[in-house]
Amino acid sequence: MANNGSGPGYASPAEAMKAGREKLLYTVALYVGTGVEKPDYLATVDVDPDSPTYSQVVARTEMPQIGDELHHSGWNACSSCHGHAHMSRQYLLMPGVRTSNINVIDVSDAKNPRHHKVVSGEDIKAKTNLSAPHTVHCLHSDIIISMLGDADGNGPGGFLHLDQNFDIVGRWENDLGDMKYNYDFWYQPRHNMMVSSEWGAPNTFMPGFDLEDVGAGKYGQTIHFWDFEGKKIVKSIDMGADGMIPLEVRGMHDPASNEGFFAATLSSNVFRWWKTDDGDFEIEKVIDVPTIDVEGFPVPMPSLITDILISMDDKYLYFANWLHGDLRQYDITDRANPKLTGQVWLGGQLGKAPEVNGVTVQGAPQMIQLSLDGKRLYVTTSLFSTWDNQFYPDMKDKGGQMYMIDCDTENGGMTINPDFVVDFGNEPNGPSRAHEMRYPGGDVTSDIWM
């Protein structure tokens, strides 16, 4: 994107909050596992209420290869590069978890993104013995990507280092310690820290979710703290039954802060993490969503906290319960004692809100993205094609949805906006699944300040 000569992003989280309302939103849209044998694509959604095409997909950018399973995405540059006038937030990197391809999308024309190049999954496997790319963060000038498997799809994976031209530099990390699995990560150079989480090996999670795999130790329950400059793990905390499948890791946006939160998805607990004054790392469980006994289900159903984020002002924490079907807002002013301030229901296994805004919800709240000013929370309903097909089998024929939640940033509270719904069941090539979302100018889950 064009910038004002001061480099990408914003000088501070407070400046980002003043950026003005988002007009476009990008989301990955998938055909993997739907029966539509076409490549996944990037959908550009009009989120400008004054536009005649508000709440519609206005551009579709197809990937060159079928079967990627686009999942998460990240920028070539974010606010960590603010002040570097030669850089710009021009490229969105969109990894395919199943093919290991990394698609690079040029968003110079924000309303009409173009496919720029592919970093081939086969090339990545051959050069780094890594596969299944996931989280992308720009690293000042370069890019690192968490990789969930080795070239054969087994753990522990590692971190892929790309340069500014998206050429493979090699593996980023020096020492993985006892890391068994990989997933998401967040970093903060000011405190020389990075935190990474654990899903499972690609060969375990790609075919679908099996409780026997949990019992066999094939899913993660450990959180890792890194010496960021040394590129090595310095502390790993095994959380046992309380911390099964830790996924999204978020840090506070204020770069002076040395703490954050993450969710243990299967255990459905939220943990706070922080670096102590003497350089150690600690965690504590701060939210516990109880399981629910559902008739006909012999195993108590966890809420399955699949995504979590922190507002730009570090005041609110939001998360999605993909099985129970609710979205929650917590006031985290008192970091150790989050207070529930808002909740809405969309779809889900409990049947509390099967239809919203005139559309039958396929799936439940899953990926979330918050506006920079904190007032609008966008949500999509697909998790991962094979897992969707297990828990919400109708989604493959009817497509996923995107909704918008109005958030009260003064007193807390959430309301589903009645005028916004994007039904990916109506896509021209057939129903697709929508997953992670990004704004052209940066957002609360991509931007890190130095």
Partner: protein, 112 residues
């Protein structure tokens, strides 16, 4: 020496018959014949390309992503399956009715 080829009939694609070499995957042969089947990892690590083997035998590497239940239901992975003899198969997500089950549901309540 000419490579051994087998005839693979795709029952739910109008009974189309494709010639598949012994060291060729059914996915590759079908694609060459103009049938785009589901595909993703292309190494047997996920079940996106699963379809059903109705008759005949195929060779698949050990350790594919199919579990015992799925294999017993007749699924094979087209991205790694190579025919050992003439076969009949069904392909695509329309065959996936028994492939997925909700892991929290009782076994007897699984959907067809």
């Amino acid at each position: 020496m000419a490579e051994q080829k087998h005839r693979v009939t795709i029952n739910n694609r109008g009974g189309a018959v494709i010639e598949v070499a012994e060291d060729q995957t059914i996915y590759d042969a079908a694609l060459a014949a103009g049938f785009q089947l589901p595909i993703a990892c292309n190494y047997g690590g996920c079940i996106t390309c699963a379809g059903k083997l109705l008759s005949g035998r195929v060779r698949q590497p050990k350790g594919t992503a199919l579990n015992k239940r799925q294999s017993q239901a007749g699924y094979i992975l087209m991205c790694v399956a190579r025919p050992k003899e003439d076969c009949a198969i069904e392909v695509g997500v329309e065959t996936h009715g028994q492939l997925y089950r909700n892991p929290f549901a009782a076994p007897q309540k699984r959907s067809v």
